[in-house]
Amino acid sequence: MRRASLIASVIMILLSIGIFLEASTFKKAEAAIAEGPGFYPQLLASTLAILSLLIIYNTLRKKDDVKLMFFNKRVVYGTIIIIAYCIIFNFLGFALSSIIAMAFLVKIMGGTSWKTIIISSTVIPVGIYLVFNNLLQVPLPWGIFENFL
C-alpha cells in the first residue's frame, strides 16, 4: 500500500506539472475578462501537486503496511481479453465479439462446466442485443457483417 500510494502521488505530481505547463500555453483573451482559460487548470494542477506532496508525507510517516496485489493471473488475462475485445469489436460487431469475450471471461472467473460457459455466453449477449436493438430501438453494430443483414 505504501509503495503504491507513493507511486500514485509521484504520477499525480508529474501529471500536474504537465498540466501546468500545457495550460501556460493557453492564450489569454484580450478582453476585460479577469482570468484567461489557463488560470483555472493551473490553479487545480498546483492544488493537486500540493495534495500529492501531503499524501507522500503522510505515507512516509506511517509504518504499518498492507500488502497490495494489483495484478494476479485473472486480472492480467481479463485485461488481455478486454483489449482483444476492443480490437475485434470493429470487425465482428457487438454480438459476436461479446459472445467470444464473455466465454473467455466466464472461463477465467471460474465457470468450469462447458455447458455453463456456452449457455451463459450466448444467452446473455444475444438477450442484451435483442433488448437494445429490437425493444429499445438502440442499434448495435455488426461490423463487417453489416452488409449481409
Binding site: 493557453f26 476585460a32 499524501i55 497490495l68 485473472r74 478486454i82 446473455i124
Partner: protein, 499 residues
Amino acid sequence: MDNLLFGLTNLMNIKYILLIIGGVAGGISIGALPGLTATMGVALLLPLTFGMEPIAGMLLLVGIYVGAIYGGSISAILIRTPGTPAAAATVFDGNEFAKRGEGGRAIGISTTASFIGGFISTVALITISPTLAKFALKFSAPEYFALALFGLTIIASISGESLLKGLASGVIGLLVASIGLDPMTGFPRFTFGRSELLQGFAFIPVMIGLFAVSQVFANLSEGFKKRKVDQKVTRLIPTKEDLKKMLPVSLRSSLIGTFIGAIPGAGADIAAFVSYNEAKRWSKHPEKFGTGIVEGVAAPESGNNGVTGGAMIPLLTLGVPGDAVTAILLGALTLQGLQPGPLLFKDHGDIVYTIFIGLLFANIVMLVMGLCGIKLFTKIVSVPDYILTPAVFVLCIVGSYAINNNFLDVVVMLAFGFLGYMMQKIDMPASPIVLALILGPMAESNLRRALVLSEGDWSIFVTSPISLTFLIFSAVSMAWPIFRKVYEGKMDKRVQAKM
C-alpha cells in the same frame, strides 16, 4: 395540490406503472447482489432509457434507485455481506438475526424500515422542493458558484480515513472536467487538436467506467466465491411489538437520511452509519446494539432509504446532485434535453410532479415486493460471480457505446474503469471525481461569469447574503475534518491518561 393530482393522473398509465415495477424489481436484485451497487445499477441500466421519453426513463431509474438501496440489506442480513455500501451498517444487527435463524424477521423489519424512510423523504421532497425552487430562481452567478463550491468542499468532510486522497480525487475530477472548450472564451483546453475532445469526456462512459468496470476488475482480482443462503426465510411481516420498537427509531433515521441526502456529496452509506450511531446514542440500552435487535436494523435501513428522496431535492431544485446516484440521474436528465434546476419546475412541472408521485409509488412497490417476493430475491443472491461479472462487462460496453454510437466512448469507459480499479486498491474514493465532473464546470463558469458581472471585483461573492452563507458553510465543511481529528486526538489522550 393540483400539481400532485396532475402527477397522479399522469402516472396512471400502464406503461409507467410497469416501468416502476420493473425498475424496483431490477433494483432490488442489483442491490442484493454483492458487488453491484445502486450507483452501478443506475449507471448500467441508464442506456435502457436512451430511446424512452423523459418521464418513462426517469421513472425506471428512480425505481432502480429505491429498490437497490433497499436490496442491499437482503445480503447484509442473510450472508453477512452488504449488497451495497449503503447496507454496510445493517450487517451488525441484521446478521445476528440470521444467525439465530430469524433472517426473515430481520428482512421484514428492514423492508418496513426502508419503506418508512423512502416514504417520509419523498414527502419531504414534495413539500420542500417547490419552495426551494422558487427561492433558487433568485440565484445568479455568484450564488451558483458558492453553492458549487459548497458541494465540492463536502467531499473533504466525507472522505473519512483518506481525506487527502479524497481531495486529490476531487481535484482530478475537476481537471477532467476542464477538458474541452473553455466555457467563457471558447478556447480548446487539453484537446491536443482532436475534435472529439472539444466537448470534453462524455459523462456517462466515465461514470460506467469508474463504478461498474472498476468492479469487473475487482471481481477478476478476487475470483469466484460461492454465496449461499442456508436458511429458509419465513415470518416476514413484522409483529406489532417489532413495529412499536422500530417506529420512533425509523422516524428519526428517516429525517437524518433525508437531511444527509439533501447535502450535496453525502450519500446513503454515510446516512446509514450516522442513523445507526444516533439510534445507539439515543437508546436506553446502547449495549444491546450489535447483538441483533430491532432498532439496529431499522435505523440504518430507514436512514439509507431516507436519502433517496433527500438527494433528489438539490438535484431537481438546484441542479446539484445530492449523491453519486443522483449525479447519474442528472446525466440522464441532461441527455433527455432537460436541465435540472429551478427552471425545471416552471417549464416542465408535469415531469417533476410525475417523478414525485412515481417515487411514492416506487416505495409502495418496494414494500410489497420485499414482503411477498423475498424468496425470489434470496435466489438471486446465489447467482455465481462467473456469470455476473462477464454479464456486467457486456452491459458496460453497450451502455457506453449506445450513447453516441461511438467506440471512443467505450475506450474512455475502459480507461476510467482501470483507473477506478487502481484507485480502489489504494483507498482513493471514486465518487469525488464524479461530483467534481458535475460541479466543476458549474463552479468555474459561474465564478468567471460573476467576475465579469462585477468587473473583476471579488467582493461580489460576499455582498450577496446567499452566496456568503454558502461560502461560510464551505469554510466550515473544510475545517470540520481537521477539527474532528484534533478533537478525537485530545479524547484519545484523555482516555490514555486515565488508563
